[in-house]
Structure formats: structure tokens, C-alpha cells
């Protein structure tokens, strides 16, 4: 029920209006003078005030002014005398909502009140709208603030170093991870440095070109390259670097670089390699046990055979000494004695042969043990390669000289195909020597194992310039070759096709050395046709 304040000095009017307004559903309060009305209004809020203009004391105009002062939202309807347009206009100027003229008809009053109610309602709706709008603005502002803080936190707490620049390449963001990585404080970075101090070489030039509009085709994003950046301490920090240009429309306004610190990863990588090597050593020991058992068996067997032959020899010697030779040529030939001498000699020959067999067994197995131990040492030891400027041809020639006699023994041609024009490169001569020796020795074995005796076997050692600064070694044979299965197991530990002759470590050792040089090793092989091993080394930087 709307409340309404009716101010009129005529009691009759107050009474009549009260009754009719109450019956229209208003909660009506009345005041007999302007002052009384204002007093009442100050105590209590009325959305609609109906006031007479002509009153003794404070008149309706004054009442209107006061009420509007107190609350401009109030609907004030003034009641004017008949034809008093001047008051009506004045009151409208002062903010009255409406006026009705005396004598007041119920109908006119109702219309005026309805219109007032309508306006109040509209005002209220408008107010609500305004409030909603305000709340929305507040909410959105807070959201933006939250998002900004969130993004700021993202940047600040990121474990990747983040560096952002404006288009003059001044630093505008330099997060704590970047501070830690580069060793500069954010203030140092922002006040005295620019992108060129942090971005990897080359990238900052490209970015400058983009800003200068020189290089419109340059990729706007440089992703995931591993690079080194230099810290304040002078340390070269390994990072994975990505960078993006920032645009407003199509105008570049800045750049942002992300630096992932790879120091820890590099360290982990090293540890991983180490633990892999330990695991490999574990496997090695298991494989080794089997190999060593066989060798021990061979050694013991050799010893046994030598010992029995020696024992037998000693016994025969003793027996021989008992034969009386004194009357051998004077007395009639004693057939028995002679036969005995012949028997002893035959037996001695047999024992001699046994001695040789046994001793060869011992020798062979001692070789096996020393090969195994040496390979194992090279494979498991963290040998630091000793790099020097060296002519790869010297190594190839040395290896060929070494293997020449072995090749001849099996009627294999050892062909040298050496690029004499080649200069020196940076490598570990001892390591590469053992690689090449291993490959050539394998190639000779491949010919020895080949069953096709129609072939004239050869092993070719070839050297060539690789690119500008590298070298390519090739060891080519036309021996027995390898099937796919064998090739797939080529670099497995203790895998050997040579039965008990191989240690199964030779190629592993070779690969390890080639890897240390940052080189590659490839193999092409066809069963029954031959094998080519290729080692490519990039001349390591001095």
C-alpha cells in the first residue's frame, strides 16, 4: 500500500480527500500546514506528497522546495487555485511532478496519482537498472583485476624465465626465474638493459628487424631451440628458448621470450647416462660370467693335457733309462729292446703332440681373457678422449699395416683406398685407431667365415672428406655378410657371431668412441655378399 502525505489548511478538503484516497487504497497521512507537513515528512518517508499551494504560513511552493531538498525522488503533486497558471508553472519548475486545479475532482486526482505511481515505478526500475549496471561494472572490474593478478602471478611464479620488451626493446617484464637465471635484478634489467642482453645471438637481430619493419616475412615465433645465454657471472647457461612477437592489430608492439633452464635437465641427463652405464655393467657382469667360465674351462683343459703329457714323458724317460744299451751293437740285435725304443719314440711323439695341443689351448684362452678384459675396460671406463689435430690417413695406414699379415694368412686382399688430399682434423687418434682396428678385424673374420670359396675375398679401407671439416672412414668386405636378425642385434652386449672367438663387445666399444666424437656409424650388409661399415666424424671444433 503506497503511503501518501496530504497537506492542506482546509480541514474539509483533508477529510474528503482522505476518505476517497483511503478507498483508493492509499495509506494517507494529513498535515494542516506547510510546516506541519515538513515536520511529518522529516520523520517519515512518503513517496507521494499532495500539497495545496495557497496556505497561510509556509505555502505550497516552499513546501515543494523543502521536500525536494530533502528527497528529490519524491513525487510532489501541487493543488492550485482555478486559473492560477503562474503557480502551476513555478511549481513545475521546482520539480513538481504534476498539478491539479481546484475544485479537485476525484477523477483528475486518480489520474494524477496513477501517473505519479507510474513515474515512481519507472524511476524504481531505472534505479534498479543503474544498480545492476554498477554491480556489473564492479564485478567485471574485479574479474579483470583477478585475471591481471593471476597472469602476473603466472609470470612471477613461472619456473621458466620470462623476459618481455616493448617495441624499443626496453625490458618491461623480467620475472624472478629470469633474475635467477641471468643473475640481474629486475631493476637492473629494466633500467639499463635491452633484449639484446638476454635473447640468444641471432634472435635479437631478427626481432629488431621485425620492429624496424625490415623483415616482414620473418617468422613471428621462434620455438624451442636449444641455445646458450650468458649470465651476469659470465656462465653460459643452456636454455630452451622460445620467443613470440606481440602485436596490436598488425603493428608489432613488443616481444616476449621464454627461457627454460636446461642446467638441471643436462645434469639429470648426465646422471641418466651414468646409471645406464651402471646397468650395462650389471648386464656385462652376467654376460661376463658365462664367457669367463668357458675360458676357465679351456685353461683348465689345456693345463690338464699339458700335465698328463709331462707326467707321461717323465715316466717314459725313467723307463728309457732302464734299457741297457751297452751290448746293443755287439750282442745280437735284441729285437725286444729295439722295439721298445721305437715304441718309446712313437709314444714320445704322441706326448709331444699332446703337449703342443694343451699349450696352444692355454695360449688361446689367455688371449681370450686378455681381449675380454681389455674390451671390457674400454667399454666400462669413462675414458676421456684425448683430442688432437691429426691426419685420419695416418690411422688408416697404421691399421692396414697391423692387419696386413693376418689378411695374407687367410689369402684376403687388403686394399687401401686413401684420400691423400685430406687434411688434418680434430679427433682422438687412439680411440679412432681402436675403432678402425675393430672394424677391419671384423671384416677379415667375415671373409674367414665365408663358405663361398669361389670368391677372391677383399677388405677395403677407404677414407674421404666428409663435408668441409669431417672425415668418412669406410671398411668394406665381400665376406659372409649378415642377415637382418644379426644386424638387429649388432649393438647388443655380448652378442657375437664368432662363437667362443668373440667377446661380443668390440662393436659396442667402437660405437661408444664414435658417439663421443659426435659422429655416426652406419652398416649396410647383405647375407653372402659382404658388409660395409661407415664412420662419419664431424671435425670437432678446436
Amino acid at each position: 500500500m503506497s503511503k501518501l502525505l496530504l497537506i492542506d489548511d482546509e480541514e474539509g478538503i483533508r477529510k474528503v480527500f482522505s476518505i476517497s484516497l483511503k478507498s483508493d487504497g492509499y495509506d494517507v497521512a494529513t498535515a494542516a500546514s506547510g510546516q506541519q507537513g515538513i515536520d511529518l515528512f522529516q520523520k517519515e518517508f512518503f513517496p507521494i506528497v499532495l500539497t495545496d499551494i495557497k496556505m497561510p504560513g509556509m505555502d505550497g511552493i516552499e513546501v515543494l522546495r523543502r521536500i525536494k531538498e530533502i528527497n528529490p525522488e519524491v513525487e510532489v503533486i501541487v493543488i492550485t487555485g482555478h486559473g492560477d497558471m503562474e503557480s502551476a508553472i513555478q511549481s513545475l519548475h521546482l520539480g513538481a511532478s504534476d498539478f491539479i486545479t481546484k475544485p479537485v475532482s476525484d477523477q483528475l486526482l486518480s489520474i494524477a496519482l496513477e501517473r505519479a505511481e507510474e513515474r515512481l515505478k519507472t524511476k524504481k526500475t531505472l534505479n534498479n537498472y543503474a544498480n545492476d549496471l554498477w554491480n556489473m561494472v564492479k564485478e567485471k572490474t574485479e574479474e579483470i583485476k583477478r585475471r591481471y593478478e593471476f597472469e602476473d602471478k603466472l609470470v612471477q611464479r613461472s619456473i621458466d624465465g620470462i623476459v618481455a620488451t616493448d617495441k624499443e626493446e626496453n625490458i618491461i617484464i623480467f620475472n624472478p626465474a629470469a633474475e635467477e637465471m641471468f643473475g640481474y635484478t629486475v631493476n637492473e634489467a629494466k633500467s639499463a638493459m635491452n633484449a639484446g642482453n638476454f635473447y640468444p645471438e641471432g634472435i635479437s637481430q631478427k626481432i629488431s628487424d621485425v620492429f624496424a619493419g625490415k623483415d616482414r616475412n620473418a617468422s613471428d615465433i621462434f620455438v624451442g631451440d636449444e641455445a646458450f645465454v650468458s649470465a651476469k657471472s659470465g656462465e653460459a647457461v643452456p636454455v630452451r628458448f622460445s620467443c613470440a612477437m606481440l602485436y596490436e592489430g598488425d603493428k608489432p608492439i613488443g616481444s616476449v621470450g621464454f627461457f627454460q633452464d636446461l642446467r638441471k635437465i643436462k645434469r639429470l641427463e648426465k646422471e641418466l647416462i651414468k646409471s645406464e652405464r651402471l646397468a650395462a655393467i650389471g648386464q656385462t657382469v652376467a654376460g661376463l660370467a658365462h664367457g669367463v667360465k668357458n675360458i676357465l674351462n679351456g685353461l683348465k683343459g689345456g693345463l690338464y693335457i699339458v700335465n698328463t703329457a709331462l707326467k707321461k714323458g717323465a715316466a717314459d724317460w725313467a723307463a728309457e733309462n732302464k734299457i741297457d744299451y751297452s751290448n746293443m751293437f755287439t750282442a745280437p740285435l735284441q729285437a725286444r729292446s729295439l722295439k721298445r725304443i721305437i715304441d718309446i719314440n712313437t709314444e714320445r711323439e704322441r706326448q709331444q703332440k699332446k703337449l703342443k695341443t694343451g699349450w696352444e689351448m692355454v695360449e688361446r684362452n689367455i688371449h681370450k681373457v686378455s681381449d675380454l678384459v681389455l674390451d671390457l675396460l674400454t667399454y666400462s671406463k669413462e675414458r676421456e678422449p684425448e683430442y688432437e689435430i691429426y691426419n685420419p690417413n695416418i690411422i688408416a695406414d697404421e691399421v692396414c699395416d697391423l692387419m696386413e699379415s693376418k689378411a695374407k694368412e687367410y689369402d684376403i686382399d687388403l686394399i687401401r683406398d686413401i684420400d691423400r688430399e685430406m687434411g688434418e682434423i680434430y679427433l682422438d687418434p687412439k680411440g679412432i685407431h681402436s675403432c678402425l682396428l675393430n672394424l677391419v678385424s671384423n671384416a677379415i673374420d667375415a671373409c674367414v667365415f665365408d663358405l663361398d670359396t669361389q670368391k677372391q675375398w677383399y677388405v677395403k679401407v677407404r677414407t674421404r672428406r666428409e663435408n668441409k671439416s669431417g672425415v668418412e672412414f669406410e671398411v668394406i668386405d665381400n665376406g659372409c655378410g649378415m642377415g637382418e636378425e644379426t644386424q638387429s642385434k649388432l649393438f647388443a652386449e655380448f652378442f657375437s657371431t664368432k662363437g667362443t672367438r668373440g667377446t661380443g663387445l668390440g662393436l659396442l666399444v667402437t660405437q661408444k668412441i664414435v658417439n663421443e666424437h659426435g659422429g655416426t656409424m652406419d652398416v649396410v650388409s647383405r647375407l653372402g655378399k659382404g658388409t660395409t661399415f661407415t664412420i662419419r666424424l664431424q671435425g670437432k671444433k678446436v
Binding site: 679351456g298 683343459g301 688361446r364 684362452n365 662363437g499
Partner: protein, 130 residues
């Protein structure tokens, strides 16, 4: 005539060594380089005893052992397994093969791990052939 002992091993040193021990024990050694050749020699020479390696190229000792023990003609020939692999490992592989659906085979008459003492091998040969 002296009884024949078949030695099956891919390692020439083991063959020489075992042959010596067999000879010195008073028997005649026969040799084969792998399981395939071994089975041929078994049929040809009818040995009284077989000394068998396990890890060999071509046909392994495991296959030859099972072929021997599942053939009524040869299952009575005693076998000494002489191998670098442990007895436990060998028996486990046999058990696995038994369960796999193959005919179950008995354990070998003797199992010697390399390296073996000549006296031990000689004594075992004599024991199984007496």
C-alpha cells in the same frame, strides 16, 4: 672294443679337453660341433655316453637333449650336461618346456658346470659307464 663317448660342444677347447679325459679314462671319444651333427653321430656311432653342451649355434643342447630323451631308441643313453649355465637355470627351462605341452623329460644323469675339474669329469664318466 672300448665304449664310445660322444662329446657335443661348439668350443674346440672343450672338445679337445673332454676327448683327453675320455681317452685317459679308457674310452673312445667321438665329437660333434652342434646338436644337429650330434644327433647324426648318435645314430651312426651308438655311443654309450653323451657329454652335451647347452649353448651352441644351430641346434642347441636343449633341443638335442629333449630329442634324445623322447626317443625310446636313445633314451637309455646316459647324458652328462657340461655347460657354462647353472644347473638351476637349465632345469627351470626344462620345466617350462614340460609345461608348455612337450612330453616331460627326466633330468640328465649328471650335470657339471664349467669350469670342470678333469678328475671330476673322469670320475663321472667311469661311474656312468661301469
Amino acid at each position: 672294443m672300448a665304449k664310445k663317448v660322444l662329446i657335443v660342444d661348439d668350443d674346440v677347447d672343450v672338445r679337445t679337453f673332454s676327448s683327453s679325459v675320455v681317452e685317459d679314462s679308457g674310452y673312445k671319444p667321438e665329437i660333434a660341433k652342434d646338436g644337429e651333427e650330434g644327433m647324426g653321430k648318435v645314430k651312426e656311432e651308438k655311443p654309450a655316453l653323451i657329454i652335451l653342451d647347452i649353448l651352441m649355434p644351430k641346434e642347441s643342447g636343449i633341443k638335442m637333449y629333449r630329442a634324445l630323451k623322447t626317443d625310446s631308441q636313445f633314451s637309455d643313453i646316459p647324458v652328462i650336461v657340461l655347460s657354462g649355465i647353472a644347473k638351476r637355470t637349465f632345469l627351470r627351462s626344462q620345466k617350462a618346456l614340460d609345461e608348455f605341452g612337450d612330453q616331460p623329460v627326466p633330468e640328465p644323469e649328471a650335470y657339471l658346470e664349467k669350469p670342470v675339474e678333469p678328475e671330476e669329469l673322469g670320475a663321472m664318466i667311469k661311474k656312468l659307464l661301469s
